[in-house]
């Protein structure tokens, strides 16, 4: 329904754009790419405007809401204070969340390494790569929270469901990233090894993985960063424990904004440390290759 609308809108908007352009001769000639860009931007704009008109505001005063939110954030950031747990306990829970993220990244990374090899077009037959790519696209289309909740029915709410659920998205994300780094490998290297009689596994371990290892590691660490944020969310929404659960209790149960402040500061600090580490690893690995 929505897509028909957007496609229809696209065509209509496209026509008006074309007319505009042909009048001005200063603009560069309208090729397919710039036409598509204008069309997509106008479509998005139209859909945004439609959203604001169709929205059920439920009598909420937006400005008042913003003022309240600003006040709440002032409390969070200027008066953080925890009295239901000590800073030490909060820190332990941050480590639990880091542990959830680490295990999910590790499981995801190992499985993605094999799937990535099978999904790379220069290493596997075409029908295999298509199958794997379709499979991971499906995994990616289901939101992480739904994977975790679905596994929670079988494994019970807790770390097991969260780790397996989180690793599903990591598999999908890393398979895509890994297979693309494998595909960057020069075809002639593989052919040279094949000509010298190397078998598939020898090609993988002597040429493919060594040449892309720095990319694999930096992608994996990037995924760890994402998984940390996801693990916080799963702690809050799926009872996976860790700092996310504390955040959920403080915010949704006790309505204690000052405690939310302490937790938010902790999470931001860890996230920034991970971000800086990720950038450093990237630079170091790029230098070494």
């Amino acid at each position: 329904m929505l897509f028909e609308e957007s496609i229809k809108g696209w065509a209509q908007l496209g026509d008006s754009v074309k007319d505009n352009i042909s009048v001005k001769s200063i603009n560069p000639p309208l090729n397919k790419a710039s036409f598509a860009m204008r069309a997509i931007l106008l479509t998005l704009l139209a859909l945004t405007i439609y959203f604001f008109f169709s929205l059920d505001y439920q009598g909420i005063n937006v400005l008042q809401g913003f003022a309240d939110t600003f006040d709440n954030f002032k409390t969070i950031f200027l008066h953080p204070h925890a009295h239901r747990f000590t800073l030490g306990e909060a820190f332990v829970n941050v480590v639990v969340t880091l542990g959830l993220a680490f295990l999910a990244t590790l499981i995801g990374g190992i499985i993605a390494l094999f799937l990535g090899l099978l999904a790379a077009q220069n290493l596997a037959p075409k029908h295999v790569t298509n199958f794997i790519k379709g499979f991971v696209a499906f995994i990616r289309a289901v939101p992480t929270i739904l994977w975790v909740l679905i596994f929670a029915v079988a494994a019970g709410l807790g770390s097991a469901a969260a780790i397996i659920g989180l690793s599903f998205h990591s598999i999908s994300y890393l398979t895509k990233a890994f297979s693309e780094s494998f595909e960057d490998l020069d075809r002639s290297v593989i052919e040279a090894l094949m000509a010298s009689g190397a078998n598939w596994w020898q090609i993988i371990f002597q040429a493919v993985i060594p040449s892309s290892v720095s990319y694999l590691l930096s992608w994996t660490f990037l995924r760890f960063e994402i998984n940390f944020a996801n693990a916080v969310a799963m702690g809050a929404a799926a009872g996976a424990g860790g700092i996310g659960f504390d955040l959920f209790m403080a915010g949704n149960f006790y309505f204690d904004l000052r405690e939310v402040g302490v937790i938010t500061y902790l999470i931001i600090a860890i996230a920034i440390v991970l971000e800086v580490a990720s950038m450093n690893i990237k630079q170091k690995l790029q230098k070494s290759t």
Partner: protein
């Protein structure tokens, strides 16, 4: 010499794997993760899913309820991304090394981007819910702020990548700041920016589900509702609709990327 290189490489590898094993064991202990249970739950979940988690004829009755929610969620993601992109464009122009007006603006906009990106989505959702209660606006603003942080970083990197050459060439001809922005920076970075925008829309639809579960809005709330009522047939129908939507949007954006990049 050759032996040294191989020994060093082997030692490096051994050190790396030892570190991984230590971290793994530490994580297993601290998260109380039952490894066997984790893996056995995959097969258990598959068996359970096969026998319970599929839509039946009766669950189709919820279609009139979930389709408007789905439409609202998709529109919300698009609107949040689009509006965030407009703000992110200004922030990234002020923050990028090549286009910044002065250092202070750059530091401020980089700081805003980093702060907004790293405040967890859960915290955004909960704080906004206090002010906007259970309305679509809560989800909209939560997605908006998180997208603003992400898109500013992405746009800034895109502008930095476009490089100094064309900017310097225009500066040499005596072009003003706005001429440089509109004639060199924006046209060169626009395809990549649109690609990020499309990526963000996909991500936001998935995140909207999470925000929905937390704040009781949109399609996430529909899923949560049926899930907690143990009405798994209806819940699976919701999942199927989310999957179809995300895959359709991914398909459309991949085709757009192929044309513009």
């Amino acid at each position: 010499m050759r032996d040294d290189i191989f020994t060093k490489r082997r030692n490096d590898n051994l050190g790396f794997f030892a570190l991984l094993i230590v971290l793994t064991i530490g994580s297993i202990i601290i998260t109380k993760y039952d490894v066997m249970k984790g893996f056995s739950s995959i097969s258990k979940a598959l068996i359970w899913g096969g026998s319970n988690f599929y839509p039946d004829a009766e669950s189709l009755r919820i279609l009139p309820q979930i389709l408007p929610k789905l439409q609202e969620t998709v529109l919300m993601s698009i609107a949040a991304t689009t509006v965030a992109a407009v703000f992110a464009l200004f922030l990234s122009l002020a923050g990028s090394r090549t286009t910044r007006i002065n250092r202070i603006f750059s530091v401020i906009s980089r700081g805003i981007a980093s702060l907004f990106r790293n405040i967890p989505l859960v915290a955004w959702a909960m704080v906004l819910m206090l002010a906007f209660s259970q309305s679509p606006l809560t989800g909209y603003f939560a997605l908006f702020f998180a997208s603003l942080g992400f898109l500013t970083r992405a746009f800034m990197e895109t502008i930095d990548e476009v490089g100094n050459n064309s900017i310097e060439a225009l500066q040499a001809t005596g072009a003003g700041y706005f001429h440089i922005i509109f004639q060199a920076v924006l046209p060169a970075s626009m395809p990549q920016m649109i690609s990020w925008l499309l990526y963000m829309i996909e991500t936001n639809i998935r995140d909207a589900t999470l925000v929905g579960v937390l704040t009781g809005t949109g399609i996430g709330f529909s899923f949560d509702l049926y899930y907690k009522r143990f009405d798994y047939h209806a819940a699976s129908l919701v999942v199927i609709f989310i999957v179809i939507t995300v895959m359709l949007i991914e398909f459309v954006s991949n085709n757009i990327r192929r044309v513009i990049l």
